[in-house]
Amino acid sequence: MDSLIELGLQVPVKLDSTLCSRFRCTKSECAACAVVCPAPGAVRLGDGAGNNSAAINAACVACGACVAACPNGAIQLQENDSRVAQRIAQKVRVGEVFRFSCSRAQGRADMVQPCLSRLTEALVLEPIRRGAQRVEMCAPDCSGCGLKKAAPQWERTLAFSQALCESAGLGAARLSSVRTPVGDAEEIRLPARAPNSRRRLFGSIAERWKTSGNAPFPESGVADEAEPEVFRHLVQRHSENPKRMDLLRVLDALPGLKVTTKEVSTTGFPLAQMEVDRRCVGCSVCETLCPTGALTHREEGGTYTLEFDAAQCTGCRICESACYHQVLHIRETVDLSLLFERSRVTLLSAQLSQCRGCGERVLGDAAEYCLACQVSGDRRDTVARSFFSGGI
């Protein structure tokens, strides 16, 4: 940062593009962030050609709708989800109702956010995990709000959280939305502990000095000099989806958990179940491009195995749209209990053989040349021959 002007233009959210579906695959048509963003011009989506990634600029108003909307957890606000979860945990009163409210809603609430669309499923379920009896999301009619474009997001989050609650055997009624009149929201403050005195302030400074006085200063500017990693290597790494990890942690710790099967439609829910048919050539593009690492392959002996971890899948459908051979099929419904069970499914297990042409290990019976080499060679021949067969 070189000047104060730049400070003023800082973007309040961070986008980890390695988790962005659009960045990884130009065939991705994900627009989750752009659809809910209420600030005109704040989200720019790539054009699908060279650069397809989403980008967020300083027009962002930090409402957090995109944070909740991005299924891959690629976007983080400065006050990240775990800090909000901590605040919620402090405020929960066991056995009582926990109220989330937007700042336009009249009345008192345990947590007030500029817009309820900031809340992720993990945050909505956090009070239940901490022992609250019910969660209410209080908001007036969103159609008169400046952030109304973000409104469908909190309704989706609520619907998904309710479905999860039901699958956890707790009943969807534990979560509900409440329509309130427009007014000023008031956040219930935590009971203050001891009043801060000057003695305490200096005491804490002395304490910090003792513990961290000799700690080195964080070095700045070193990382920037390194050569930026090329895309080809970057996509081989799979970052953890922080949003899904938070959700899984909350789901595991829900009190009174009794997992039941609940089938929901894959459209509208960030989850999927899939099948791979026998025409798969084992190119592993689905694995490479999957932003969350839900697909993994193993090569043991002469066998290629493709595995799927449904709990990590966010239903972004990159795998389905990227697969050239169209062998990957996403089912229309998905069982929510997969999020609790974490079972890895083997999608495909097939024999590998080595091609004499390219030397690659490919799927299929032990033919001399792999199908890719055969197809290329045959096509060259066909094209050249078409001069003489009157094919032109």
Partner: protein, 207 residues
């Protein structure tokens, strides 16, 4: 030996280079006079330093006629068809690439694979009707004819064109080349196969 042929003289190539705005550089191959020496293949390998098995340009041999039928006079012949990348107007490889590694440059119509982006999935090879993209098993990426973009940018012709001893390969801007060849009464044909027409730019002169 001059690197220009009398058919497409130096001035014509220079006019191609000087042309402003969006254009399409391409090759013109006269297969009637191609002697099948594979000098273009070797020049390409040397220029682009490609490993064994990766050939941006291949010469396909087509044998015609039959000599086994004793009742007829033997009438056999062999024709050579050099096959580089066709630098298509609507590249099938570009459409198939899942990561956007393949681009067609507006300024000169050259179709290029970005080596930093390519993940080596071979989808371009599956999609290309001409079998042009080649898999580099060492680097695990796809490569193909770049129309010697590094030479063309310096105002030089592709290595295969300057090397061709029979002077049957010509380089230039598509419209310019067509104009020059029309004066020679040669009709160019582009080979398109299959259902999808990718609008190949490379032209051939046949018998």
């Amino acid at each position: 030996m001059s690197e220009y042929s009398p058919i497409v003289p130096r001035e014509a190539v220079e006019r191609s280079f000087a042309k402003q705005g969006p254009k399409q550089y391409t090759l013109w191959v006269d297969i009637e006079h191609c002697i099948g020496c594979n000098a273009c293949t070797i020049a390409c390998k040397a220029e682009n330093n490609t490993p064994v098995g990766v050939d941006y340009n291949r010469v396909i041999e087509i044998e015609e006629g039959d000599f086994r039928d004793a009742s007829k006079t033997p009438n056999v012949g062999v024709t050579f068809v050099p096959m580089p990348c066709m630098h298509c107007g609507q590249p099938a490889c570009m459409a198939a690439c899942p990561v956007g590694a393949i681009t067609k440059r507006k300024e000169d119509g050259i179709v290029l694979i970005n080596k930093d982006k390519c993940i080596g999935c071979r989808y371009c090879a599956w999609a290309c009707p001409y079998g042009a993209p080649q898999f580099n098993a060492e680097a695990k990426i796809m490569e193909k004819c770049t129309l010697c973009v590094h030479r063309v940018e310096k105002g030089l012709q592709p290595a295969c064109v300057t090397t061709c001893p029979a002077k049957v390969r010509f380089f230039g801007e598509l419209n310019e080349l067509t104009m020059v060849m029309k004066e020679r009464r040669a009709k160019g044909i582009s080979i398109s196969v299959g259902g999808a027409d990718t609008k190949p730019s490379v032209q051939y002169t046949s018998k």
